[in-house]
């Protein structure tokens, strides 16, 4: 009985990868545990091991093939004694729900997740071959007074943009250094600090022990003396261990010292839900930090904003909480090719113009907002999508101006509903544009539950495009 060998996933968030190399060739005998092939993503390499015994009858995907979707059959294994040529000539079977071989869990789970687009959560066909998501054209980089007319745009992932931002600032300023778990030799748990150790050395790219509270305090102490640390949290979930140092030491000392002692530090790392990592590893902290005077809180969506805002954050004399998102790391966007591209902290951006309803979001929430705007356009509703980019200080003016134009508003975030960013936006609209509202504002948020593990429940716990569409129609009385 022939067995299909399927493209494995390194993690629940991986959708595709490169089949780098076959280590067995057609006709080779294979025993369980034999390494058949190597696959790669932009972050990691892993070996595909055989689970069954047999003969490698046919290789379906050749060496060096990029963008092989997870669960695509990559080879056929014939049982001992089976007619190899008959097996080989058989058309490839459809991907099975639970294919073989299983991923080899030889790497730290947190570090190894990847996904080029959040489509899996919408329940779409993950086995379809997918090109890297590239958002192009005016929608991708609208507007902007932020870049000169005619600036060349280069496509890069959010991950690369963040890396470049750090590298550029480290070249410029000797007092900038990066510290955190696995940032140096491992090249970053999510490969955001890739290559920094090689360029800047161990003095400025510092692997810390797993000791968030302690190294956050060390970073803050160093910042008090005028150094500019970039403290990477492997995820912001772990920064809860360090939140005392972030709030009581980093955010408050300038005030408590009567303006003497500033704290020029960036705390950065992935925030919010990734995929299938359950409650303790899936939480959006935007609302938490945004409640604290003395902090700035930034949450970019596009690669250009990730780069420009991180550069601004590193230069900022204040503590900046820089909230990234694991799912966005692998997404590609056009980024202005400029020697020194920065984006100002505290300015929202109209990502897509429209006249009928304002959708305000930030970070990964923008993926729902933009897809919903596409859906709404098909029904003749022109949604204006505001990307907050900075949560604190919040750009109330841009939100209010848009709401004054549309008269209707929906907020979108993955965080919890109570006292969330959406709640704050609603309050500001009420305070500043009450008379312009034609309908009550609706908040679309993560549900008021700890994040469940089961795929179906997780999907229910997160916002969906359908919810955003429905809310937008509701405020338009459609």
């Amino acid at each position: 009985m022939a067995i299909d060998i399927l493209m494995p996933a390194l993690s629940p968030t991986m959708e595709q990868g490169k089949l780098a190399k076959w280590l067995k060739k057609e006709g080779d005998k294979v025993k369980p545990g034999d390494v058949l092939a190597e696959i790669e993503t932009d972050k990691a390499t892993m070996e595909v091991e055989a689970v069954d015994e047999g003969v490698l009858a046919k290789i379906l995907v050749s060496d060096g093939t990029d963008n092989v979707a997870v669960n695509t059959p990559i080879a056929v294994l014939a049982s001992e004694g089976e007619d190899v040529s008959a097996v080989a000539s058989k058309p490839a079977a459809a991907p099975a729900p639970s294919g073989q071989p299983a991923p080899v869990p030889d790497m730290q789970a947190e570090g190894m997740t990847d996904r080029s687009a959040p489509v899996a959560r919408q329940g779409q066909d993950v086995s379809a071959p997918a090109a890297p998501a590239v958002i192009t054209g005016a929608a991708a980089y609208s507007a902007s007074a932020e870049i000169p007319e005619g600036t060349e745009l280069v496509t890069m992932t959010v991950r690369e943009a963040l890396r470049d931002a750090m590298a550029e600032e480290m070249r410029k300023d000797e007092s900038v250094f990066v510290m955190g778990e696995e940032v140096a030799e491992y090249q970053g748990a999510y490969k955001v600090t890739q290559g920094l150790l090689q360029e800047f050395g161990a003095k400025r790219v510092i692997d810390t022990p797993i000791t968030e509270h302690g190294f956050a305090g060390v970073g803050v102490g160093a910042a008090f003396t005028g150094l500019r640390p970039i403290v990477e949290f492997m995820t912001f979930n772990f920064a809860m261990q360090a939140i005392d140092q972030i709030i009581n030491s980093a955010a408050k000392t300038l005030y408590m010292s009567g303006g003497q002692l500033g704290c020029p530090i960036v705390f950065r790392g992935p925030n919010g839900a990734a995929a299938r990592v359950a409650a303790q590893h899936s939480q959006d902290f935007a609302a938490w930090y945004s409640a604290i005077p003395g902090l700035k809180v930034v949450a970019p969506y596009t690669a250009a904003d990730a780069k420009g805002l991180l550069k601004s954050a590193i230069r900022d004399p204040n503590p900046v909480i820089f909230l990234e998102n694991e799912i966005l790391y692998g997404q590609s966007f056009p980024v202005p090719k400029l020697d020194d591209f920065t984006v100002p902290i505290g300015k929202a951006r109209i990502h897509r113009e429209g006249k009928d309803v304002t959708i305000v979001s930030f970070g990964i929430g923008m993926t729902y907002a933009l897809k919903a705007a596409d859906e709404l356009a098909k029904e003749g509703i022109e949604a204006e999508v505001v990307d907050l980019r900075t949560i604190r200080p919040m750009d109330t003016d841009t939100i209010v101006a848009s709401v004054m134009k549309t008269g209707r508003c929906v907020t979108v975030e993955e965080g919890f509903p109570q006292s969330g960013v959406g709640a704050e936006i609603v309050a500001r609209i009420m305070e500043n544009a009450f008379d312009y509202l034609d309908a009550p504002v609706i908040r679309i948020t993560g549900k008021d539950v700890p994040m469940p593990y089961a795929a179906n429940l997780e999907k229910l716990a997160l916002p969906s495009v359908a919810e955003v569409v429905q809310a937008a129609k509701a405020v338009c009385y459609r």
Partner: protein, 353 residues
């Protein structure tokens, strides 16, 4: 208790050095207590007296309602910070917890500015926004003044990290108490400091009570000099009531840290005469215990005796020092009483740069 077991300075000034207890020290016996020359005795006397008189005045002003909130007095512990400061050089930093008035004065910060901060006035070192526990001076290399127990340990380790990063040869003195010594981030910091050989001296001021809890009721290991053993950090117990012992130990520790060998722990065995804060009646210990410490081990009285007996100062000369100190304190109190409160517009300044 090593401090209680010791009979310091009974046999006349300067001759009772070897009675200093080092029992239980992680490093074994320390060398004999060095003699101070006259100028060292004089300067340490004056510095300690300033702290004593300042704190007495603070207590008085608290009682008058001029100082609000928490107010943690350093009375009894003066020898620790004064002896340590004598062992530093320009550029070395100091960071501590909330019992910080003495540290600020020892760092040379203006008594008027400290007192006016206690009373929440605009001329306070933090413009009245920080209060007793939150003052800083970049100029004097004093990094606070921190109200969260143990937080200063990671912060001080970070300051030491910056010293190593800049290769400036400075050492950060990081003070904390026997209570803070049980916080988790202390050990996270010990680990990193030794791993990276950071120039930091951890000064554990063991005043025997974490608020109202005696060390024996809160700590499984009451020899705090051993708290770095699992990281390979050397430590020693020091008679924190004898400024000479503190100075000598401080020199050893700072030299160790400055030479690139990494952190060093000094457990200062000391005693606070007052309660944890002004609102603490200190019912958890006997009056006799406090009286015994004051009569037999007072850090200022030890030096005073040496000044009279070894250096043959007259009572009048000592009175002159006392008057000078009182004048500084009275001037500070006067200023802090009459300086206006911060302008209401200050509410919204200094939040961001």
């Amino acid at each position: 208790m090593a401090v209680a077991a010791r009979k310091a300075g009974r046999a006349g000034a300067g001759s009772a050095n070897k009675t200093t207890s080092t029992k239980g020290s992680a490093r074994g016996a320390v060398p004999n207590i060095p003699q101070f020359d006259k100028s060292q005795d004089l300067s340490s006397y004056e510095d300690m007296l300033l702290i004593r008189r300042f704190e007495e005045k603070s207590g008085q002003m608290y009682g008058m309602g001029l100082i609000g909130g928490f107010c943690h007095l350093y009375i009894g512990q003066e020898a620790v910070v004064v002896g340590m400061q004598m062992a530093t050089k320009e550029g070395d930093q100091v960071i501590t917890g909330y019992r910080d008035h003495g540290h600020m004065l020892a760092c040379g910060m203006d008594a008027k500015g400290v007192m006016a901060e206690l009373t929440g006035r605009r001329g306070g070192l933090s413009k009245g926004k920080g209060g007793s526990m939150h003052m800083f001076s970049k100029e004097k290399h004093f990094y606070g003044g921190h109200g969260i127990v143990g937080a200063q340990v990671s912060l001080g380790t970070g300051i030491a990290f910056a010293n190593r990063y800049r290769e400036n040869g400075n050492v950060c003195l990081t003070y904390f108490g026997d209570g803070a010594a049980n916080q988790g981030q202390v050990y996270e910091s010990f680990n990193m400091a030794q791993l990276w050989k950071l120039p930091v001296v951890y000064v554990i001021e063991n005043n025997r009570y974490a608020m109202g809890t005696a060390v024996t009721r809160a700590s499984a290991q009451t020899d705090f000099s051993k708290r770095g053993v699992s990281f390979g950090i050397p430590g020693e117990q020091v008679d924190g009531m004898d400024v000479r012992a503190v100075y000598a130990a401080g020199q050893r520790a700072i030299e160790h840290a400055r030479s690139g060998k990494g952190p060093y722990i000094l457990e200062m065995q000391t005693y606070r005469y007052r309660g944890h804060s002004m609102s603490d009646p200190a019912k958890y210990r006997t009056k006799d215990e406090v009286t015994r410490m004051r009569e037999e081990h007072d850090p200022i009285e030890q030096v005073r005796r040496r000044l009279l007996e070894s250096w043959k100062l007259s009572e009048d000369e000592l009175k002159a020092i006392d008057s000078k100190v009182r004048e500084i304190v009275n001037e500070a109190a006067e200023f802090a009483t009459h300086d206006p409160e911060p302008d209401p517009s200050e509410l919204y300044t200094d939040i961001l740069l």
